[in-house]
């Protein structure tokens, strides 16, 4: 990341940010990772943005171990307008949804941060200020849950799962095993962090604080700022860790969750194992030792998540039942 920052430094501007996503954005980069990135533009259209994009592309490609995905989601110009205005509806394409939520969940600007910060704040401002029940609280339980955001995160998670079934057809089965394991671990972690981030909007505040914050119109922008900076500007692992660190009784759960995730990252950072999983077909996966080990890790990870999200003492169980299921 430091190397990229130094190389891209001269491309900084107030209207653009070069944003890395994926494993680099999550701070889980390993030797076999690709560099997913976009040029985020938040300002007047300028033909010279194209030259900026080409320069950035050249610099990043020189340092990337391999190419980005084929869906055109990354290594692209991304205008803030679509991200902020097209939330839901016919024009909110799969690609737009993915770019928007990855920007919130696993992104980091390389160099100039101003445009990046402006856009993430404006996206969250839309999700939160357009959500009446978030401010009012749910009718029966007075929970302050950002439903608009939560529903979009759930949509994104299910979209990733559906696309997992779609991609083997589009890619003739290539990469099935690695994508399966990523779906079970790092993709799921995105949803976990998003869901927990939504629940933390309620759980991180005491009852008195909720009364003061949600009852005072003046504090709305302050709350949007807090959600942006204290929750969603962190990596998915940090969002989860921040919650677990405040609940001593969840120590064992934390250990199980992070151990399995750490071992998953360990497998990906082993170039032989990674290459093996990249080449492994669906038909051979069940009998393959590496795949079976990875699947076992994913089961440990899933079990830890179930313990976490159905934990009564932290208040998560109630929120999961009410807002995570139906």
């Amino acid at each position: 990341m430091t190397e990229l920052q130094q190389a891209l430094h001269y491309l900084d501007s107030e209207d653009t940010s070069i944003v890395v996503l994926g494993s680099l954005g999550r701070k889980e980069f390993t030797s076999g990772s690709d560099i997913d990135w976009n040029l985020l533009v938040d300002g007047i259209a300028d033909p010279n943005h194209h030259a900026l994009f080409l320069d950035a592309q050249q610099i990043i490609n020189d340092r990337a171990p391999k190419g980005v995905g084929r869906e055109g989601t990354f290594e692209a110009f991304v205008s803030s307008h679509d991200l902020i205005h097209k939330i839901g509806g016919e024009d909110d394409t799969n690609r737009n949804l993915t770019r928007r939520l990855l920007l919130l969940l696993e992104s980091s600007p390389v160099g100039g941060r101003v445009a990046y910060q402006r856009v993430t704040k404006n996206i969250l401002k839309r999700y939160l200020l357009d959500d009446r029940s978030f401010w009012r609280g749910t009718t029966v339980h007075r929970h302050h849950i950002p439903h608009f955001l939560l529903n979009d995160l759930a949509r994104f998670w299910r979209t990733m799962a559906v696309d997992f079934a779609y991609k083997p057809r589009a890619r003739s089965g290539k990469g099935w095993a690695i994508r399966n394991i990523k779906l079970r671990m790092s993709r799921k972690m995105l949803y976990v962090a998003g869901l927990l981030g939504c629940f933390r909007c309620h759980l991180d505040l005491s009852e008195n604080e909720r009364y003061a914050v949600f009852g005072t119109e003046d504090l709305r922008l302050s709350l949007v700022n807090w959600v942006t900076k204290d929750i969603f500007s962190n990596t998915p692992l940090d969002i989860v860790a921040n919650f677990l660190l405040r609940h001593d009784h969840l120590h064992e759960t934390a250990l199980q969750l992070f151990t399995s995730y750490d071992q998953f990252l360990g497998m990906l950072s082993d170039s032989d194992v990674r290459h093996h999983l990249e080449e492994l077909s669906e038909g051979s996966a069940d009998a393959d030792d590496h795949y079976r080990k990875a699947r076992e890790l994913s089961h440990n990870f899933r079990d830890a998540l179930l313990k976490l999200f159905f934990d009564e003492a932290s208040g998560l169980a109630k929120l999961t039942q009410l807002y995570g299921v139906f």
Partner: protein, 241 residues
């Protein structure tokens, strides 16, 4: 009534006399005498005794926004020599190099938050560093600059929350993508309304929108609409401060 008026620079660039003439029949009671370009400072300061400013309940001076380090000494001295009228001296923070001098102005030194071209004074974090250097300085909140830097208005909100106690005056205009000061648009009015309740009614409003004489009253109406208080301020939570 909240003091409200124009910057002379917005109305007539360096010709402050013409600007004051344009304001003669307008319902304004505040003015900022602009010497935004270095050569404008001496003619302005030398003319102060001749100007009829009696109708204004609030007057400030805008210091040059750009000058060489060699010029800092004499510019400061000229402004310092005019300190006895107690008018706030609005400065762009990137021009302040020799801190001990400027600190002598105390709260008359009025630091303005910057647009996105400037390397300092754009955000709460950057202003914090400036007010550490100039602890007695007051604050000129440029709402157009703040919006240009962060269209979510969160930075503007944070500035008013954090530096509200220093707030001496407010600059109002729509700062466009070329950093020029335009009349307020429909969108900027809505954006400004989001933080208007944090501006106390006694704080003077200085309009910086570049308008012709026949557009002055319309722009005043737009500014009044943008800064009309629509919600009541409340207490601040320690969690989300």
């Amino acid at each position: 009534m909240q003091p409200l008026g124009f910057s002379t620079g917005a109305l007539a660039l360096s010709d402050f006399r013409s600007a004051l003439e344009m304001l003669k029949d307008q319902k304004v009671n505040a003015v900022e005498l602009s010497a935004i370009r270095e050569p404008e400072l001496i003619p302005l300061l030398r003319s102060l005794d001749e100007l009829d400013l009696s109708r204004f309940s609030y007057i400030s001076i805008h210091a040059p926004s750009q000058f060489s380090p060699q010029a800092e000494d004499w510019i400061f001295q000229e402004l310092y020599d005019n300190r006895n009228n107690c008018w706030p001296i609005v400065v762009h923070p990137d021009t302040l190099k020799h801190d001990p001098d400027w600190r002598l102005l105390g709260s008359q030194l009025c630091i303005e938050n910057m647009d996105k071209r400037k390397p300092v004074g754009r955000t709460v974090q950057e202003l914090d560093l400036l007010f550490e250097r100039f602890p007695a300085a007051s604050f000129c909140f440029d709402i157009g600059h703040a919006r240009q830097v962060d269209t979510s208005m969160i930075e503007a909100y944070q500035m008013l929350k954090k530096f509200g106690h220093r707030l001496r005056q407010v600059h109002v205009s729509e700062v466009n993508s070329r950093n020029k000061h335009d009349p307020l648009s429909f969108i900027s009015i809505i954006d400004f309304q989001e933080v208007a309740h944090l501006i106390p009614p006694e704080v003077p409003i200085i309009i910086e929108s570049i308008v012709s004489g026949d557009q002055i009253s319309a722009e005043i109406s737009r500014v009044r609409k943008a800064l009309a208080v629509t919600s009541k301020p409340g207490g601040m939570s320690s969690v989300v401060s």
